[in-house]
C-alpha cells in the first residue's frame, strides 16, 4: 500500500486521514511531513488506546519535541481499532516516512461523510506554504 500525500485529506492542524479501498470504513491517521518538520527533535508521543472513541476535531494524543508539547487532533470520529505502538520507540519513522511507517492510529469511522470536510492536498499545501 503506497500512500502519497496527494491522496490524503487533512485537518488544518496537520493531521492526515487515508481510507483504503480494501477497508472503506477504516481511516488511517497520521501527521504531515510539514508538521514533523515544524516540530523537530521529537522525543515522545502519547498514543490513544484501542477501543477509545475519538471525535473529529478533538484531541486524541500528544506529540512532544525537545521544547514543546503539541496536541494531535482526530480528523474523523469513531472507534480506535489499531494503534501504532512501536512508533514511540521509532519516532524517526515520522521523519523518514510520515505517510507510511509513520501512521499513528486506525479509526472505524462512525460518520465517513466527515471526510468531505477535510482539506484536499492543494488546499492544505497552499495553507502550509502561506503560514
Amino acid at each position: 500500500m503506497s500512500i502519497v500525500p496527494e491522496n490524503l485529506r487533512y485537518l488544518d492542524s496537520h493531521e492526515w486521514a487515508h481510507v483504503s479501498t480494501d477497508e472503506p470504513g477504516i481511516a488511517t491517521v497520521g501527521i504531515s511531513s510539514f508538521a514533523v518538520e515544524q516540530l523537530t527533535d521529537l522525543v515522545f508521543m502519547a498514543l490513544p488506546k484501542v477501543g477509545q472513541e475519538v471525535t473529529a476535531g478533538h484531541e486524541f494524543g500528544e506529540v512532544e519535541s525537545v521544547k514543546a508539547v503539541s496536541p494531535m487532533y482526530s480528523p474523523v470520529s469513531g472507534t480506535v481499532v489499531g494503534v501504532h505502538e512501536e512508533l514511540v520507540n521509532r519516532l524517526d519513522s515520522l521523519n523518514q516516512d510520515p505517510y507510511g511507517n509513520g501512521w499513528i492510529m486506525k479509526v472505524r469511522m462512525s460518520d465517513p461523510s466527515e471526510l468531505t470536510k477535510l482539506l484536499d492536498w492543494p488546499t492544505y499545501k497552499h495553507q502550509c506554504e502561506n503560514s
Binding site: 523537530t40 527533535d41 515522545f44 512532544e64 525537545v66
Partner: protein, 371 residues
C-alpha cells in the same frame, strides 16, 4: 504592549539562514536554525555562536559609578579591579530578586575606567526605571543604555577559543574565567569577556551595532572547519538548564530570595550596606523553607513549567520552574523549588505531566559539567 517587535542588527542574517523567529522580551529572536538538538550538540562538542543582542547593556561612567553600583548590587563592587566581571543580583528592599546581572569593570582605550551592567532583556525597562531615583542621588554618574547602539555575540563550546584565535588580539586568550577586556576586532572596538550561559568555555563579545554582521560572519567563517553552528534561544535554554543556571522569570523573581535560589555566593553581606542587605541578612540565617533543586525524570516525557511535584503521600510539594528533554543526558530534566523534607538528592517524587504521573528523582545541580 502592542509595540512593534525590535530586531537585532543580525536579523537579516537569521532570516537568510533559515531561523525561526519568535517574540522574546519584545525582540524578534531566532529560536532555532536547524534544530534544537543539533545546535545543542554542536555547542557541547564544537562551538555555537549566539546572537544575544537582546540582553540589556547599561554603561556607568564617573568616579562614583562604583559607589552607585555597590549600593544597588548584592556583590561588592568597590573592590573590583579593572578587567573583572562578577555575577550579581539586584534586589529590592525586601531581598526579592529584581534581576540577575553581570557587572564588569572596564578600561577604555583612553584609560577611563567605567562599569558595564548586562541585564536580562525581559527586565531591562524595569531596571532602567529602578535606577532613576538612584541616579538622581549620584548626579555625577553618567548613565547610558547602550543596548541599541551595540550588539552582543556569544561564542561557546570546547572549540570556541581556537575558532576565535585568528579573529581577536592575542591578549584576550590569557583572560581568565570572568575576566573582560576592551580590545579590537579588525580595528573596530570590541569588549571581550570570558563568560557564558551554556556551561561551556567561551567568549561573549560586545561590538558596535554596525559591526555586528561582519564579526558574526567572521566567526562563522573561522568556525566552519571546526563544526560551528548558529544557535537559537531554544538550545540556549536547554544548555543553561543542563548547566543548572537559573533563568529570570522561571527560577528567579521578586518573591524568591537568593538563598532559596542557591545563589548565596552572589551575596556579600559582610561590612556593607546595599538595597536589600538588611532583609538578606535575616534570610541568610533562616534555614530557608524552599531550595532550588534538579529533577531527573523517568521515561521520555518532559515536565514543563508548572508541572506539580507530589511526595509519596500524594501531597503537592512543589512545581517545576523549567523543564525540557536534555539532549546531553538523553532524558528529561527539570528544576524546581522544594521544601527541605523532600529536597535531599535521591528523594523520589511523582511529577504530574498533564494528568499522567511520572516518577522522578531529586538530584544535585548542575546536570552537566564540562569535562
Amino acid at each position: 504592549m502592542d509595540a512593534p517587535l525590535q530586531t537585532t542588527p543580525l536579523v537579516d542574517w537569521h532570516k537568510a539562514n533559515g531561523a525561526r523567529l519568535v517574540d522574546f522580551a519584545g525582540y524578534s529572536m531566532p529560536v532555532q536554525y536547524t534544530g534544537i538538538v543539533a545546535e545543542h550538540q554542536a555547542t557541547r562538542t564544537a562551538a555555537g555562536v549566539f546572537d544575544i543582542s537582546h540582553m540589556g547593556r547599561l554603561r556607568f561612567d564617573g568616579p562614583r559609578a562604583d559607589q552607585l553600583l555597590d549600593h544597588l548590587l548584592t556583590r561588592r563592587v568597590l573592590d573590583m579591579q579593572t578587567g573583572q566581571v562578577r555575577y550579581s543580583l539586584m534586589c529590592n528592599e525586601e531581598g526579592g530578586v529584581l534581576d540577575d546581572v553581570l557587572v564588569s569593570c572596564l578600561e577604555s582605550p583612553s584609560g577611563k575606567v567605567y562599569f558595564l551592567l548586562v541585564v536580562n532583556a525581559s527586565n531591562r525597562a524595569k531596571i532602567v526605571r529602578w535606577l532613576q531615583p538612584h541616579l538622581a542621588d549620584f548626579p555625577d554618574v553618567e548613565f547610558h543604555d547602550v543596548t541599541d547602539s551595540t550588539a552582543m555575540i556569544a561564542v561557546q563550546g570546547p572549540k570556541a577559543l581556537e575558532i576565535c584565535k585568528p579573529l581577536l588580539p592575542a591578549s584576550v586568550f590569557s583572560l581568565g574565567y570572568y575576566k573582560a577586556k576592551v580590545t579590537e576586532q579588525m580595528s573596530k572596538p570590541c569588549i571581550v569577556s570570558r563568560t557564558g550561559y551554556t556551561g561551556e568555555d567561551g567568549f561573549e563579545l560586545i561590538v558596535k551595532a554596525e559591526d555586528a554582521c561582519r564579526v558574526w560572519e567572521n566567526i562563522m567563517m573561522a568556525g566552519r572547519a571546526h563544526g560551528i553552528a548558529a544557535v537559537g534561544l531554544g538550545a540556549r535554554d536547554t544548555l543553561r538548564l543542563e548547566a543548572g543556571m537559573p533563568l529570570y522569570g522561571h527560577e528567579l523573581n521578586e518573591s524568591i530570595d537568593p538563598y532559596q535560589a542557591g545563589l548565596s555566593f552572589a551575596c556579600s553581606l559582610k561590612d556593607r550596606q546595599f538595597i536589600g542587605s538588611d532583609a538578606l541578612a535575616k534570610k541568610s540565617t533562616d534555614q530557608g523553607l524552599l531550595k532550588r533543586v534538579g529533577i531527573v525524570l523517568t521515561g521520555r516525557r518532559a515536565a514543563r513549567e508548572g508541572s506539580e511535584l507530589l511526595d509519596q503521600d500524594n501531597r503537592v510539594v512543589g512545581a517545576v520552574t523549567s523543564g525540557s528533554f536534555s539532549p546531553t543526558l538523553d532524558k528529561p530534566i527539570a528544576m524546581a523549588y522544594l521544601p527541605s523534607e523532600v529536597s535531599q538528592p535521591g528523594t523520589v517524587l511523582d511529577v504530574d505531566i498533564r494528568g499522567t504521573r511520572v516518577s522522578a528523582t531529586v538530584t544535585v545541580l548542575p546536570f552537566y559539567k564540562r569535562p
